[in-house]
Amino acid sequence: MKYAIIVDVTLRQGISDPEGATIERALPALGFTGVSDVRAGKSFRLNVEADNEAGALEKATALAQRLLSNPVIEDSRARLSAEG
């Protein structure tokens, strides 16, 4: 089976996020108030061959930790794509 997986990569809590901070500072000027804790990240979409959902997620989690993220500063999370 082929499963569509999304991997989200975000900076770990406690690691400064200059992109998120810059976006957050820009929002009030555009009239968006009450928005805080903006964190920038990356998202990857993959098709993964596996016997079942758990196997696909396991493979995606492993490759996310090995390549898509740098665990020193980033967290990664694999999830099934709702859109298939």
Partner: protein
């Protein structure tokens, strides 16, 4: 004579500067293509600046899987002198040969200007001929040069004298003004500033010479 391998990834752009600098100091330099799976016969290895593999994903993230990096890791683990400059520093952290990581600069600004560095440790292959506290004028040229690491790694860096160089004035938000670090043994060093661009007073500074001559002399003593 010391024979130094300068690794060339697709997208490296400081390899000629690095080779020229160590040649000026009496070593011979040869380019090593990233697809090569050995670094046999070299006395020292330099990972130069640039944008290895286009910096796609993250700086150094793809370069660490280039075939040559296994050979560089074995060379480093056997005590060989390895120097990562700028992008080379990013590759060494991604490869786990140095602790920590390089993040986007504070302020999201590409920085290209001279900086004043302070020598913090003379234990590393890059600083053994320098003096602790010595101030050096060396340029920086980077977007992702803000050194970061978790508290445990930071405490180890301090306790083991692995902070090699600090900025006098922090340009990029790096933790504790760190500009360069070494591994525990001191034979692997990474720094964001470019000593190979500070080799001649005519071009602004010759302060890179004390750093790279330390590196070259270390590669001689290994042989």
């Amino acid at each position: 004579m010391s024979r130094i391998g300068v690794v060339v990834f697709p997208g490296s752009n400081c390899e000629y500067d690095a080779a020229s600098a160590v040649t000026q100091l009496g070593a011979t330099a040869e380019f090593v293509w990233h697809g090569q799976d050995n670094v046999d016969g070299f006395d020292g290895i330099i990972l130069p600046g640039g944008f290895a593999h286009g910096d796609y994903l993250r700086p150094g993230a793809l370069a660490r899987f280039s075939p040559v990096m296994n050979a560089v890791a074995n060379f480093a683990n056997a005590g060989g002198a390895v120097l990562g400059i700028c992008n080379g520093f990013q590759v060494l952290t991604e490869a786990g040969l140095l602790p920590g990581a390089l993040q986007k600069n504070r302020g999201l600004t590409f920085l290209c200007h001279p900086t004043t560095l302070i020598v913090e440790s003379t234990r590393s292959v890059l600083t053994l001929k320098a003096t602790k506290g010595q101030a050096l004028s060396i340029p920086i040229n980077h977007f992702s040069g803000s050194y970061t690491c978790d508290d445990k790694s930071y405490e180890e860096l301090v306790a083991n004298d692995q902070i090699v160089l600090r900025y006098k004035e922090n340009p990029n938000g790096s933790r504790d003004d760190i500009a360069g670090v070494s591994n525990l043994a001191g034979n692997v060093v990474g720094l964001m500033p470019h000593p190979e661009r500070a080799m001649s007073l005519l071009l602004g500074s010759a302060d890179g010479q004390v750093l790279l001559s330390s590196f070259v002399s270390k590669t001689l003593s290994v042989r």
